[in-house]
Symmetry: C2
C-alpha cells in the first residue's frame, strides 16, 4: 500500500509516504508559512504519488468532531493565516481518498501503539516536550478527543522550591509548558538547553516538573506506557531522573509491576524515533482506509 | 428485566435490584465488615431475587484485567480481611449469571452516562468527594482502566497560600484527597464540614483545590461533562465557586462553548442523586448481560 502522511507542525510540515507496516518510503519537509503556500506545497507533493489514503496529524487546537460544521479546521492559533482555516477541506478538494485527521500528539500516540514502543497496547500517553508541550492520549484502544482534545501541556504542577523563573505561557504563565518546555529552560538558565552539560542542575529541575506531570497523569488515566518525545527529550539523561521523580511522587500507591519494578520499560523514548509523528499520520491514514472499505 | 446491583463502599454496601431503564426497584444496605460476613449478607439478599445479571461497582484498588489470574480481587487495601480477597469469585460461585465488575467511580460515571446528567454522552468524569476522593473516567464510550484503573484522587495540586494544613493521605500527605476530602476539612477547621456556615472561608479554599484538580483533568482528558458527587458535594454552594476556579485556571485556553459560557451545565451534581453508584452498578450488570447474549 501507499499511504500519504502529513505531520503538520508549528515550524515545519513533514510529508511522506508509508506502507501498511509503517515503513516510511519517502519523506520531505518544508517550513510552516501561510496556509495557502504551505498546503500548496503539500498538494504538489502528493499530486503524482498515487496514495490510497492520507493521514494528517497536526498542531492545534483543531476541530476533531465529525459532526461539527468546522470539522477539519484549525481553530484558534496565533499562527498567521491558520486561525479558523479549513485545513482538511483544502486537501479533500484535491484528493479523493479517505482522510484521517487528529492532533499531532494523538497521531504519535497511535503510531507508537501501532508500530512503536507501545506496539500492541490499547493504552499509551505520548508527550512531546520541545518548544511547547503536547500530550496525546490513547486509551482503551481509542484516541481520546472528548470535548475538544487533550491539551495536557497546560496543567499546573507544583513549583520547584528553588525555581524563580516565572514561566512563558501567555495563558497560564507557569503551567507545565510555561516552566518546562525548551524556551523555559533557555530563559531560566540564560543558555540553550542543548548547551547545558549533562550533569547541570537544570536537568534535575526539568525532571522534577516532568515527573510530577507524569505522576498526575498516571493517577488520572492509568496508561500502560508513557512515551516522551520532542527536542528536550533528546537529553537522554532526563529519563532516569524522571523515573525517580515519578516513583517518589507515587510513593508506592499505584501497586502495578510496571510502576513498582518496571519503570525503565514504562517511561521510554519513542520506538519510532523522530518518525513517531510521521508514522502516526501513516497509521491515521491506514485507519481511515480500513474504515472506508 | 431484573438486574442485581452492588455498590460496595468502604463503610457500607448498598445492594439493589434495577430494571433495564435504571429504575431502582429495591434497595438495602449493610455496613462493610469482614468479607465473609458482608458477602454472606449480599448472597442472602440476592438468593431469591431471580436477577438476570449482577453489576458490582466497588471500592478499590481492584484487579480489573480479565486476563489476570486475580481478576475480580480487591488487591491492596488496609480494610481488614479484604486485601487480596476474591470478591467476584465468591459471588460467581453462588449465582450463574453474567457479572459486571468495575470501580465504584467508573460505575457511577457509566451510570450517569447511561441514565443521568451525562445521558447520551460518550465522555464524562465522575468525582466522588467524601471521606476520600475517587475519580471515574468514561472516555470515547468506554470505562478507562489502562494499567490498573484511574486513582485521580491522589494527584498533586498547588497549595493554597493561606493553607497550613499538612494533609492526611498516608501515601502523599497533601495530595488532592489529603487536603480536600472531608477529613481534611474537619482537621483544618477543627469542626465538621457539615457544621460550617455556607459562607465560611473553608468553602472557597475547598473550591480552590477542587477547581484546580478539575482544570488539570479538563486539560488532560477533555471530558464532555464533569459530575461531582459524594458527601462534601452536598454543600451546593461549592458549585459556583468551583466553576469560577476552573474558569480562572483555564483562563480562556480551552475554547469550547461548554467551558467559555456553559460551565453551569458542564460541572454538575449527579443526575441520579445518591443513586448514582447503585444505578452505575445496574448499568454494569446490564452491559454484562448484553455482552453475554
Amino acid at each position: 500500500m501507499r499511504i500519504g502522511a502529513i505531520e503538520a507542525g508549528g515550524t515545519k510540515f513533514v510529508c511522506g509516504i508509508g506502507d501498511e507496516n509503517g515503513i516510511v518510503l519517502d519523506r520531505v519537509s518544508f517550513p510552516t508559512e501561510q496556509p495557502e503556500k504551505t498546503l500548496g506545497q503539500v498538494i504538489a507533493y502528493f499530486k503524482d504519488k498515487q496514495v490510497e489514503a492520507i493521514g494528517v496529524g497536526t498542531f492545534g487546537p483543531i476541530d476533531i468532531d465529525p459532526n461539527s460544521p468546522t470539522y477539519g479546521y484549525v481553530t484558534t492559533t496565533p499562527k498567521p493565516g491558520w486561525s479558523n482555516y479549513p485545513f482538511l477541506d483544502t486537501l479533500k478538494r484535491e484528493f479523493d481518498v479517505p482522510f484521517g485527521w487528529d492532533t499531532d500528539v494523538n497521531a504519535a500516540a497511535f503510531g507508537e501503539a501501532t508500530w512503536g514502543a507501545a506496539k500492541g497496547l490499547d493504552s499509551v500517553l505520548y508527550y512531546t516536550i520541545g518548544t511547547g508541550v503536547g500530550v496525546g492520549v490513547y486509551a482503551e484502544g481509542k484516541m481520546v478527543h472528548g470535548l475538544v482534545h487533550p491539551e495536557g501541556g497546560h496543567v499546573l504542577t507544583r513549583r520547584h522550591p528553588d525555581d524563580a523563573y516565572e514561566g512563558f505561557c501567555p495563558y497560564h504563565g507557569d503551567c507545565f509548558e510555561g516552566i518546562a518546555a525548551g524556551p523555559a529552560i533557555e530563559r531560566r538558565w540564560k543558555v540553550k538547553g542543548s548547551e547545558l552539560s549533562e550533569d547541570h542542575p537544570a536537568w534535575r529541575m526539568e525532571a522534577f516538573y516532568i515527573g510530577q506531570a507524569l505522576a498526575n497523569a498516571i493517577l488520572m488515566i492509568s496508561p500502560k506506557k508513557i512515551i516522551l518525545g520532542g527536542g528536550v527529550m533528546h537529553q537522554l539523561q532526563l529519563f532516569p531522573l524522571i523515573r525517580e521523580e515519578v516513583r517518589s511522587n507515587l510513593n508506592g500507591y499505584v501497586n502495578a509491576q510496571a510502576i513498582v519494578s518496571g519503570l525503565d520499560d514504562y517511561i521510554v523514548p519513542p520506538g519510532l524515533g523522530d518518525n513517531a509523528g510521521l508514522c502516526g499520520s501513516i497509521a491515521l491514514g491506514l485507519q481511515a482506509w480500513n474504515q472506508n472499505r
